[in-house]
């Protein structure tokens, strides 16, 4: 089985108040030291074939396009695609930082997917989120990406933003569609601990959406994007046919992946591990040839199966019963019969004989449904 490769580029021009990823404000010296460490880490990895490469952040394009292209070249050399296969290479992008010619350099390096961090087309919401781009900038960037020949262009949008309304959310969705993008991710705002939004939420919980309002805007996303010909292929992801993210699909299929960089996560040989989120420690460990401090866990038995079901149920493909029987040696239908019966009856789950999938209604309460399949053995 092939691998997905994730590379974390943690620097940002500024820090967004809701974000809890491993990220730091851009400083050229740190960025250079980090890049060197990243190359060193790549060199330490066993050579393997990879079907997908994903550059995420942070803000990958906080590095200039030449640097990004160079890094991709190095990754492709170390993680070549299986013979006869074009790799999917994705890069996350902040629209404010795009310069003319960037995407041509990306395409030359093999980039096939561009994910633009937009969040909203409504100026008030953009401000609330602490972002600085204009809707106009986003339009230009999408056009440039298209013109440069990037095969799939994606936009991230955020709902349940304080101050958002059903109408303003509809506007963002429509603006994204009007740009002719191939893929849209819609994320409900999540309050992460120790972020400025967390403090705001504690201070003023009423400013934030309750689940009833959140369900309302989520439903608007589903209805609007499905009507525009997008497939709702994962809880937060919509794509035109042929444009789903293969790299992300690999996560939900419980496939293996190698994470490179600070705070990056890997899953290989049944072990999940996450590198330290401490930038200094990461750089020191890699450059001094020490193992990167990481936390890891290996799941076995029904704990592993439960996690696999939790992931699979996020997708429109769902839990393929035959695949699970072969891969995990478990008869899902039999082992989880009471939960399946209960949730099917409640209209949250459907069982067509070959697979189990969340219904549209089920996607709204996926936590409750997935929880029923987790076990502590």
């Amino acid at each position: 089985m092939s691998l997905g490769v994730y590379v974390h580029l943690p620097f940002c021009p500024y820090i967004c108040p809701y974000c809890d990823f491993a990220k730091w404000p851009m400083r050229p010296s740190a960025a250079n030291a980090y890049l060197a460490a990243l190359y060193a880490e790549i060199g330490r990895e066993p050579v393997a074939t990879a079907e997908t490469i994903f550059l995420g952040g942070g803000t990958p394009n906080a590095y200039d396009a030449g640097t990004v292209a160079g890094l991709i070249g190095r990754l492709r050399e170390h993680f070549p695609a299986p013979a006869g296969l074009e790799p999917e290479i994705s890069v996350e992008t902040n629209p404010e930082l795009v310069r003319t010619g960037d995407f041509e350099a990306y395409v030359a390096a093999g980039v096939t997917r561009l994910s633009i961090g937009v969040q909203s087309f409504v100026p008030d919401e953009i401000r609330t989120l602490g972002r600085k781009h204009t809707p106009e900038q986003v339009r230009t960037v999408a056009e440039q990406a298209r013109a440069a020949g990037i095969a799939s262009v994606s936009i991230d949008l955020m709902f349940a933003v304080p101050g958002q309304t059903a109408d303003s959310w509809r506007l963002s969705l429509e603006r994204a569609l009007a740009l002719g993008v191939d893929h849209i991710s819609t994320y409900g705002l999540t309050i992460e601990e120790h972020t400025p939004f967390d403090a705001w939420h504690t201070r003023e919980p009423r400013a934030f959406f309750d689940d009833t309002r959140e369900a309302e805007v989520y439903a608007i996303a589903i209805d609007t994007l499905e009507a525009a010909g997008f497939e709702h292929y994962e809880i937060s992801n919509f794509a035109r046919p042929g444009h789903a993210s293969l790299h992300n699909a690999n996560y939900w299929a419980n496939g293996e992946y190698a994470g490179l960089g600070v705070g990056a996560a890997s899953y290989r040989g049944g072990e999940r591990s996450v590198h330290t989120r401490d930038l200094q420690r990461y750089i020191e460990a890699v450059t001094s040839g020490q193992p990167i401090p990481s936390e890891s866990e290996s799941l076995t038995g029904y704990r592993r199966v439960g996690e696999a079901i939790m992931l699979a149920l996020r997708t429109s493909r769902g839990v393929d019963l035959r695949e699970f029987a072969g891969r995990y040696g478990v008869d899902v239908r039999e082992h989880y019969a009471p939960a399946i019966a209960e949730y099917c009856e409640a209209g949250l789950l459907e069982d067509d004989g070959r697979s189990l999938r969340l219904t549209k209604q089920g996607r709204f309460v996926a936590n409750d449904v997935c929880g029923a399949f987790l076990s502590f053995e």
Partner: protein
């Protein structure tokens, strides 16, 4: 058994023995004074006693009350040169245990009545005083904590004269903390408390307390009133008419020390291979098997549980564990009773009877802490006396089992006389709270210091349902309460029932005054709405009286509960989050399709007025 003709008894006086107890309102310094008496008489190193006497009593200690302690024998050489044996008999410090208090008092000739020099007479002081007077005890008033800046012994002496009709000259001023007045107290015990008097033969020994020891079985604490009790002799429990062979008698010195015999007037312990505390009750009279007394000592009664609740294992498969744990607790707690019962909502469990609320809480905590059980307790209830239209009388300890109203002629409920002592500012709010609980004011008396003694009669169920807490919060802790059961009275009562998602939840039923029922129903429905977490479907909550819905609330359905992002780095973290949510859910009790938290079953206790 041949009954011998009655002989004229020889009367003895145990002139160098004094049996006494210490009675006090909570926190007036009973424990400290006991410690000082022990120190003064060099009875023990204090540390030893605490370790020994209070071991396994952490619950009581946490609650600041000692429920049971060993009696202690103090050797005291008085100023006149004579040596005395002073037996200090502990009394439980809570109204739940008033029967046990009365038995301890019955084992004494005198009592030290401790009153806090700053706080003065409180409700329990009065209750204890009246009990002591009923038992004909010589009372030595001790005004304690005279070292406090707020101490006002003059005022307290006025109260004592006024309320207890004791001359102020009899009061001893003391500070147990600083060792002031201790010797005076010891001298007063010797001088004022009469020595025990009794007959030389026809053993009668009062069991005033008992403890269960895992190795030796039941250790009964006795006061020998007549005759003597010898190791190796056979004695009979008069309440159960059962004969035992006495394997050991001894005294508390302060550790248990075996002796050959306990003579008339003395206090000690008896062991006789008694397996369970239920076999020889507190209040029982022990007599010689071969030469039995004809009449037991007065005052014995079976402990009567006043408060009942259902206890259910949260997990059905813990039912056996719960039964075993109750069996074990029962060995050491004769007052606890339990019977298997089944609830539609909660499955198999037990209906348990307790002396009062505190007793109930202690048993529940023991089960959870010492036996590691995860329990659901239903709201406490009292025992209702129901007379049906066919004349049959039923005692109902579970509201769910109340017969249909059409078959009921009358319902009677236990009433209490409640005594509340409070600063005058709070009289209004106390009146409000008691009247809202169907209390009627019987008497109102002003003390010298301006405080007021209020006497109410009110239904026990109203006292049980959060009255203590209400009183405490309404009076900022300044009022004190004591109560005693005064009998059954007819009430206009109805059963309030709760339906969740259209299904009757038997464990949430309760019995309430008709005029209050609609309000209570509304309040309970609102409270349940707060307590029941939102589920994936709407949960209607209905309160009904006699099939008629009086209140309705709805717990709205969860509309969205899904993690937005689940990529490579999120997977472990998100799985753990969902696992945690699942654990929370599994702790809930499923009734029909509805998940209920354990607190929901006690919701009726937490209703606002």
């Amino acid at each position: 058994m041949t009954v011998k003709p009655e002989h004229p008894h020889r009367t003895l006086v145990a002139s160098n023995i004094r049996n006494f107890c210490i009675i006090a309102h909570i926190d007036h310094g009973k424990t400290t004074l006991s410690d000082r008496l022990l120190e003064m008489t060099r009875t023990i190193e204090m540390r030893d006693m605490e370790d020994q006497a209070l071991d396994a009593m952490d619950l009581e200690r946490e609650r600041g009350i000692t429920i049971r302690m060993h009696p202690v024998t103090l050797g005291y050489k008085a100023r006149d040169g004579q040596t005395f044996e002073l037996n200090l008999i502990d009394t439980p410090g809570h109204v739940d245990f008033s029967y046990e208090v009365s038995r301890s008092l019955a084992a004494c000739e005198g009592a030290l009545l401790i009153i806090d020099a700053a706080q003065g007479i409180e409700a329990q002081t009065l209750a204890n005083y009246h009990l002591a007077v009923e038992h004909d005890l010589t009372i030595i008033p001790v005004i304690n904590k005279i070292d406090l800046p707020a101490a006002d012994p003059e005022r307290v002496m006025n109260e004592i004269e006024e309320l207890l009709v004791i001359e102020r000259s009899e009061c001893i001023l003391a500070s147990a903390k600083n060792g002031i007045g201790i010797e005076e107290i010891l001298e007063a015990i010797v001088a004022r408390i009469p020595p025990p008097k009794g007959h030389a033969d026809h053993l009668r020994a009062l069991v005033f307390n008992a403890q269960f020891d895992a190795y030796r079985g039941v250790v009964s604490y006795v006061r020998v009133s007549d005759g003597e009790l010898r190791a190796g002799s056979k004695f009979m429990s008069m309440a159960h008419e059962r004969v035992y062979e006495c394997t050991e008698v001894g005294v508390f010195a302060p550790q248990m020390r075996a002796v050959k015999k306990l003579g008339m007037g003395s206090v000690g312990y008896v062991m006789a291979n008694v397996k369970s505390l239920g076999d020889i009750d507190v209040g029982d009279t022990l007599t010689e098997a071969h030469n039995p007394a004809h009449v037991p000592l007065a005052g014995y009664r079976k402990a009567v549980p006043m408060v009942y609740c259902g206890l259910y294992p949260n997990e059905g498969d813990e039912y056996g564990d719960l039964r075993d744990a109750l069996d074990k607790l029962k060995l050491n707690d004769a007052a606890l009773i339990y019977e298997p019962e089944t609830s539609v909502a909660l499955g198999f469990g037990f209906r348990c009877g307790f002396l009062g609320l505190l007793h109930m809480e202690i048993v529940q905590e023991r089960l959870e802490r010492n036996y590691n059980l995860d329990l659901i307790a239903t709201s406490p209830s009292v025992v209702f006396r129901v007379t049906k239209t066919d004349g049959e009388v039923e005692m109902i300890d579970n509201p769910a089992k109340l017969p249909p109203m059409t078959l009921i002629d009358t319902i009677e409920e236990p009433f209490v006389k409640a005594t509340i002592i409070t600063p005058p500012d709070y009289v209004g709010t106390i009146m409000d709270a008691t009247i809202a609980r169907r209390g009627t004011l019987q008497n109102m008396e002003y003390l010298h210091d301006g405080r007021v003694i209020l006497t109410f009669e009110m239904p026990l169920i109203e006292v049980i349902v959060d009255f203590f807490d209400q009183l405490k919060s309404r009076t900022k802790g300044y009022a004190s309460l004591d109560y005693e059961i005064i009998g059954y009275r007819e009430g206009d009562l109805v059963k309030l029932e709760i339906l969740l998602n259209g299904e009757w939840v038997d464990a949430l039923s309760f019995i309430v005054a008709r005029e209050k029922a609609p309000n209570r129903g509304r309040a309970l429905a609102e409270k349940l709405k707060e307590l029941i977490p939102r589920q994936m479907f709407e949960v209607p909550i209905q309160a009904a009286i006699g099939g008629k819905i009086v209140a309705r609330e709805t717990v709205s359905a969860i509309r969205k509960n899904v993690l937005a992002k689940c990529y490579g780095g999120d997977i472990s973290r998100k799985r753990k989050l969902l696992e945690k949510q699942k654990v929370g859910k599994e702790r809930m009790k499923r009734v029909g399709r509805v998940e209920l938290p354990q607190e929901a079953f006690m919701a009726v206790l937490r209703l606002e007025d």
